[in-house]
């Protein structure tokens, strides 16, 4: 994987090596050629041309002299001549055969000489080989012939030698060129070698530098990893540990030597996660897909050497090392942060629980304090109605006013708590502003009149319909008005309201209450809205509030998104103002009457029909009070201590109306109402909620549960009478068309109780158990007919079990049998066997259907 720009020296080296290879190749070729040339020189396949031609000439001269000698003598000996001829003849063979000259490429050059010699020999040889006489006779001609040949031989030889010399020169030049080439190539090779050596040296130096650098980096990395605060574990694709740093030793408790070479699955992965780990590794090996690896930080459970499991935060990266893929895991022991987080969450949960407890406490207080107060106030009223002597009447009035005062205080405190706890639920419904304000003024006019103070209204004629919480707004206005009245004697209180449109659907309510009373000192102006502030503690003590009225008003105003404030001039009067954004509503239908605040006087109940009433109330005092009130109003009442008893009673008797408390132990009023509405003789009766819960959303809930009306505790006889006046007496009840609810196969009430107590699953389990047990018990009962004692015990058991699951028929049946058995009727079981079977079949079918539903 050469990356060209990075490894320039290496590239250069490759080029050098290539050049060298080429040079070596060229050199090899040249060397072969030189060797061949040299061999030509060394193993000269030819004899010396000069020598041979000279010898040829010499032999010819000797032949000539032998022939001339023979010519000069009479009858000369011819042996020497013949010998010289033979020697010459043998010498010509070299030229005539031409083999040697052929090898020297001198074939053409020698050709004329060869032809010349052939011609001579053809003429001379017969003479030489002939008889002595003929040879002697031919001697003159022979001498002439040889002389001529000698002249020709000379010139022809010289020409051949010249040719040979030229060729030899060429060959030498060729050899010289070859040698020069070899030398050049060798020189080039040498230079290449030097260059290669240089590049090798350079590369070596670079490699050394890189090695040193790598060592430095590696030692730095080693130190970094070793001293890292996080545990660092390096593992191979086979899951075996390759490295294990100090932090990892500290975290996991294994030493580096113990860890290295071990599988992660044996080391730090809890046994129950090993399979998942191996599956993950296998998947990655096969598909190369990574999930945890390179997947950022995860939190897992790891194992220490001690066997302790603990949470770690981990991230794994992968890297392709020289030995294949490796994984580097960075691990942080987060058992402490996790523990801290848990502690923090526990603390938060505790705080939330405390907050919830406070809220619950408020709710309970709302009930627990107001309910007895309700009883007290009602009781005092009843006492006051009875003829008492004037001195007692005074105390009764005192008691009455004190109780009402107390109730107001309780209400104030609870209001403040509610707002503070953020539990103030504001209703949002359309209402008419003008009538509401007018009715508030009306309520206070009698009080004002006693102090010779007039209340005037300054309200625009065409106020639009607005949305909001009329009750809370009324509470503020009432507070402001009553304060104004309280501090004004013989003066005037003006309630002014203007709506400034702010948009298509909103307006700003600008409301003020101005009095001509004693006024407030400037330094006290801000304080008046603080909690428990009473500017003049001595003033009007008997009628004094808690000092919370303006504080509540401020909180309410702010909760509704408004502002409240006051201006005053001591001695001249005060002006309290309220600015509140209020959505306006199209006036499509007549607005509902502000029922809460327009208190109508109840008619005297003398003409009213006598009603048959059921009072469901857990508080004994309240029960007593209500019973007494109803008696005074001339009605008949039945009492029930909780929802469950109330449902039972309502089922078997038709009441004209049921007064239902909401918060009750065992079964609350809402649940009880639902059950009464479900079945029974009173299912169409009017049901009136009696509650201290006065919130609008609560009222909605009551209506949803099937209640028709609502009485707010504490109630007065008047309230009660008015509410009951809506109850009409129905025609006398018709005989029941369906079986009496009490005769139902299953007791819905009981089932409902079970459902609440056990939940759907619990009921299913219980019913299944009941069906199993009863089947067995029924069998035993059949076979136990001969033993009345055993039969009686079984009947008792069956009756109990049937009652438990609400199988009322079955319960009554077996209870009856038990009684009969106790009374000595030993055959009762046998006689009632058919009934037992039928009822059992009905009950089990009904229960079965119930659990399937």
């Amino acid at each position: 994987m050469p990356s060209a720009p990075r490894s320039r020296p290496r590239y250069l080296r490759n080029v050098l090596v290539g050049c060298m290879a080429m040079a070596v190749g060229v050199l090899a070729v040249l060397s072969a050629e030189v060797r061949r040339e040299m061999r030509l020189f060394q193993e000269e396949p030819v004899d010396s041309i000069h020598w041979n031609l000279t010898q040829l000439e010499l032999d010819l001269v000797l032949l000539l002299s032998a022939a001339e000698l023979a010519l000069q003598q009479d009858n000369p000996p011819l042996d020497e001549l013949r010998k010289r001829f033979d020697l010459f003849y043998s010498r010509t063979d070299l030229v005539r055969s031409g083999a040697m000259f052929e090898r020297l490429d001198l074939e053409a050059a020698i050709r004329p000489l060869s032809v010349r010699l052939d011609g001579f020999l053809q003429r001379a040889t017969p003479l030489i080989d002939g008889s002595d006489a003929s040879l002697r006779a031919a001697l003159p001609a022979l001498v002439e012939d040889v002389q001529a040949l000698r002249m020709d031989l000379r010139s022809l030889s010289i020409r051949t030698v010249e040719q040979y010399a030229t060729q030899a020169d060429q060959r030498r030049a060729q050899l010289a060129r070859l040698l020069r080439q070899v030398a050049a190539t060798s020189a080039a090779l040498l230079m290449l070698l030097v260059a290669l050596l240089g590049s090798v040296l350079y590369l070596n130096r670079q490699a050394e530098r890189k090695t040193a650098e790598a060592l430095r980096v590696s030692s730095r990395l080693q130190a970094t990893v070793a001293t890292a605060l996080d545990g660092v574990i390096v593992a191979g694709l086979d899951g075996r540990v390759l490295d294990f740093n100090q932090a990892a030793e500290r975290i996991f408790g294994f030493t580096r030597d113990e860890a290295i070479g071990q599988g992660l699955d044996r080391l730090i992965i809890p046994a129950r996660h090993v399979a998942a780990h191996e599956a993950g590794m296998a998947r990655m090996r096969e598909t190369g897909k990574k999930k945890v690896v390179d997947g950022g930080r995860i939190q897992i459970t790891a194992l220490r050497k001690s066997g302790e499991e603990f949470p770690v935060e981990m991230s794994i990266t992968s890297n392709s090392g020289p030995d294949g893929m490796i994984f580097i895991a960075f691990m942080r022991d987060i058992s402490e942060p996790v523990a801290n987080e848990r502690a923090l969450m526990a603390a938060r949960d505790k705080a939330l629980a405390a907050e919830q407890a406070k809220t619950n406490f408020l709710a309970v207080m709302s009930h627990e304090m107001r309910t007895p107060l309700n009883g007290v106030i009602a009781a005092i009223e009843i006492v006051g109605r009875k003829a008492v002597d004037p001195s007692q009447a005074k105390f009764v009035r005192l008691a009455q006013s004190s109780a009402k005062q107390l109730l107001r205080h309780v209400n104030d405190v609870l209001d403040i708590s509610k707002v503070e706890a953020g539990h103030l639920a504001l209703s949002d419904s359309p209402f008419e502003l003008a009538p509401m304000l007018a009715s508030l003024a009306d309520v206070l006019r009698p009080v004002a009149a006693k102090k010779a103070t007039k209340i005037e209204l300054d309200i625009g004629p065409d106020l639009p319909l607005v949305r909001g919480d009329s009750f809370r707004l009324g509470q503020i206005v009432q507070n402001l008005l009553s304060n104004a009245v309280k501090f004004t004697d013989g003066g005037k209180v003006v309630l002014k309201a203007v709506l400034h449109p702010q948009g298509a659907r909103t307006a700003l309510l600008d409301l003020s209450v101005t009095d001509s009373g004693i006024g407030i000192a400037p330094e006290d102006l801000e304080r008046v809205f603080e909690d428990f502030v009473m500017l003049d503690p001595s003033y009007g003590r008997a009628d004094a509030g808690t000092g919370l009225g303006l504080a509540i008003s401020r909180r309410l105003a702010e909760a509704m998104g408004g502002q409240i404030g006051a201006e005053s001039e001591p001695g001249k009067g005060s002006r309290f103002w309220l600015r509140l954004p209020m959505p306006t509503v199209e006036r499509a239908a007549p607005a509902p009457a502000p029922a809460e605040f327009v208190r109508t006087t109840a008619k005297d109940g003398t003409d009213d029909p006598v009603l048959d009433l059921l009072v469901v109330e857990d508080n004994a005092t309240n029960r007593l009070v209500m019973e007494e009130m109803l008696r005074l109003l001339g009605h008949r009442s039945t009492l029930a201590v909780d929802g469950r008893e109330g449902v039972k009673k309502a089922r078997v008797h038709r009441y004209d109306a049921i007064l239902m408390d909401i918060s009750m132990p065992v079964m609350d009023g809402i649940t009880a109402t639902g059950l009464i509405r479900a079945e029974g003789l009173s299912k169409d009766s009017r049901i009136i909620a009696v509650t201290a819960h006065t919130m609008p959303e609560e009222l909605e809930r009551f209506r949803g549960a099937g209640m028709d009306d609502c009485l707010t505790k504490p109630m007065t006889i008047r309230d009660l009478a008015r509410t009951l006046s809506a109850v009409s007496v129905p025609p006398p009840p018709l005989p029941p068309a369906s079986p009496q609810p009490a005769d139902a196969v299953l007791d819905a009430l009981r089932i409902e109780e079970l459902r609440q107590a056990l939940g759907a699953d619990g009921i299913r389990r219980t019913v299944a158990q009941f069906l199993r047990d009863t089947t067995a018990a029924m069998d035993r009962l059949r076979s136990a007919a001969s033993s009345p004692a055993e039969a009686r015990a079984l009947c008792h058991e069956l009756a109990g079990a049937a009652a438990m699951v609400g199988a009322s028929h079955l319960h009554r049946h077996f209870a009856g049998l038990e009684t009969q058995l106790r009374n000595g009727d030993a055959d009762a079981v046998a006689a009632a066997q058919a009934d037992s079977d039928r009822l059992w079949a009905d009950a089990s079918a009904a229960l079965g259907a119930l659990t399937e539903a």
């Binding site: 004899d47 010898q55 033979d86 003849y89 043998s90 063979d93 070299l94």
Partner: protein, 172 residues
């Protein structure tokens, strides 16, 4: 094998020479035909007043040797037969370190006796089974197996390849 053959040949010649020596001072049989080679100088066995003269028959009585080769002077490959120089020198009991070879035309060449080996030179007097005439470089051609032995393809060897040989002198 070669040396054994040469040894037995030497024994045989020696035996012949010994029997001749009983009658005359010369230990070699006298030539009956035309003398084609005369060896003189530092030799032990002679047949004519300190020299050894050979005719064809006498040469034939010595160990025969032959090889085929081409030469730079001839065309094609020919088979040459004759007596190895070393065998001849052995037979003559030559004691000198050098020898001088002379041809009919008085060409001569000198070289150390030690250069005569079992490989060559061969004193060839038959080419392809026929006696060689003077015109065909006869009667004796001192020839080397140029084709078989690369070392013989040198100028020095070519100079020693004396033809028309008729005299050898063993010198001190």
């Amino acid at each position: 094998m070669n040396s054994l053959r040469r040894f037995s040949a030497a024994l045989m010649v020696a035996a012949g020479l010994l029997s001749a020596a009983a009658a005359r001072a010369d230990s070699l049989p006298a030539p009956q035909g035309d003398v084609i080679l005369t060896v003189s100088g530092a030799i032990t066995n002679t047949n004519d007043d300190g020299t050894a003269r050979f005719d064809m028959a006498l040469l034939d009585s010595l160990p025969q040797h032959s090889f085929a080769t081409s030469t730079i002077w001839t065309e094609g490959v020919d088979t040459y037969e004759g007596v190895l120089l070393t065998d001849l020198l052995d037979a003559l009991g030559a004691t000198g370190p050098n020898l001088l070879a002379k041809a009919l035309n008085d060409y001569e060449i000198s070289f150390p006796v030690a250069d005569a080996t079992a490989e060559g030179p061969l004193l060839a007097y038959r080419a392809n089974g026929k006696p060689m005439s003077v015109r065909e470089k006869g009667p004796i051609w001192m020839i080397f197996p140029y084709d078989d032995v690369e070392a013989f393809r040198t100028e020095q060897t070519y100079a020693r390849s004396i033809w028309q040989l008729d005299r050898i002198v063993i010198t001190e």
